[in-house]
Symmetry: C5
């Protein structure tokens, strides 16, 4: 059975990993063709190693890395370092890690923020599935201005 990795953090204020797991559980082939492997780490800068371990030790074909960077100056640098680490991990492994980050400053209202997390993480769970089983779904949306966690921007006229 194929494996899709899901990592999230204790730092986040929404259980992003469970959103991802639930979304994957509703997809065709779940439990038969593929399953989800879940891990939780302390913070976003611990995600990269967890991704590498999920790929190499747990044989995951693709991984979702969920995080919620804080909003102050130090947090922004930490988010950049976390993203660079995730980039390094996936380039070295040659397998996709989809980074599903929701930044504290994106939405001040907590209820809307939680909804944003749900939409973005859910959409990236679909992307992970497509990368693995339905690349033609990605292909037919090329240049369509698709967004995760908000309305699509759509294609430009021209």
């Amino acid at each position: 059975m194929d494996r899709i990795g899901v990592v999230d953090t204790m730092f986040a204020r929404v259980d992003m990993g469970s959103i991802a797991e639930n979304r994957l559980a509703g997809m065709e082939g779940f439990g038969e063709r593929f399953k989800a492997v879940r891990r939780t780490v302390p913070g976003i800068r611990d995600l990269a190693v967890a991704c590498r371990q999920l790929i190499e030790r747990e044989n995951c074909e693709v991984v979702l890395a969920c995080g919620m960077p804080g909003g102050d100056d130090l947090d922004r640098i930490r988010a950049h370092e976390a993203s660079q680490g995730i980039m390094m991990a996936q380039v070295l492994a040659g397998k996709h890690v989809l980074e599903a980050f929701v930044h504290a400053q994106e939405e001040p209202d907590p209820v809307k923020f939680t909804e944003l997390c749900r939409q973005r993480v859910g959409a990236h769970a679909v992307n992970a599935y497509w990368l693995l089983y339905a690349p033609e779904e990605l292909r037919k949306r090329a240049g369509q201005g698709v967004r995760q966690g908000g309305p699509d921007a759509g294609p430009l006229p021209g």
Copy 2:
């Protein structure tokens, strides 16, 4: 037959990958000496791994990575991370990946923006072809102030 990789994103608002494919399809030797291998990924930070896979799994000799970074602060950092990933992928593989990015802030008018995409991606498709089959075309333009997606700056007097 040689292979030239083309990757683009769902996030972009112009089908940049098809521009590249069409341009390559009009070049000498297409379908005989070389063909294009196309992939679409969710966003720009997924390009690096796709490039690595196109080089290693699909044996592409050179890859075009097309993307359209958004215009806000987070987007700029994401574009930088995407570019660093593409750099890492190509340096590790030792094969060229031409980054054909058009930034949202480069042109406000949507029709002109689309035309800019067409010109830049098309010019980089030519560059990919030259890197592979006609390095002397690059050589004779050394220091000529060549631009992709706008008028050439030309050589300086002196």
Copy 3:
């Protein structure tokens, strides 16, 4: 016996490594199931290599990297470089390095600052233990807004 690495610096103004060692010494299985291996380096940019050596030469399963970046502009860049090095070291090794940094600007009062160090380093020592022996403790705190060195932010409503 398993090994947990602890590295700190001469530059820091609090003996952060001893805080980590003391915390680890109070945990179940200390001296039987696992022990701590301690090193001190000059400054934060020397931590990455020390982490790599602790993992590869000393067989540490997980490492705590403790540091206290200064507050001026050059210090901030140095902290970023130190963190990038630690990221590179852990991604290449595929083992977790928990970065326990306390920045000079986080708290002006020296007594409160020292207490902040104690709390953060102590909490990361617990995290290191959990990563190794109790991943379910991390899992059940997923998305709970856990902080190291201050009150938890808690989960968002929604």
Copy 4:
């Protein structure tokens, strides 16, 4: 015969690669002990892979990477990414790549700018030669405030 690599770009507005080649051609041993291997790539972010290829496929002992970064905000980030790529390429290969970049903002007058290119690229060509054949020339200038493309700053009193 040893090989010294020279790469430049179509983007630059001065034929920097030819400056380097001409300077090398005037040095002792040219054509007997060593020769130059020239390549041109589209832009500065294509230099890193070309350097790696010159080192690994063409057996160059040292490489000169010539480029002329533009002056706007995106150009500055691209220059930084290009330099990081060149750094990665040379560190991974363990061979020197001398980066001879002249930034658009360094000199507004086109004739003086071209002269600046000539001086800097020429001086780096000498440096490449010294790294390979005359390390004692570098050694005796240690701490002498040597500059490429302008008057030397000289040593400080003290």
Copy 5:
């Protein structure tokens, strides 16, 4: 005999490498247990490869990388790239490279600046020795607020 590497630059305005060599020459075991291996490169961004070569070709156990970054905007970016390269070199090699940089903006008076170089480089030479032969000297200064090139900050109360 063990080897300690010393690299500096022609760009610097103080012969930093000789300061390091002289300091090492006064330490116990010099010429018997260990010796210094010296190199000079053009500028700070050439240090990383020289460090790698000193470690791999010259078998140095630890290296001192001395540099004097200039003070303008481009210089600051170059210093950051140089430091990232040194970080990459040491993490990949798994051996310590102590970066002894003195930035132009740290001290305007040339005589005091030269003295600052002397103190900082000398202190890092001692650190290199300690890393190799006396880790207990580093250990007993953990968290003591030790500085190189100025008065120690000392430990915080608490």
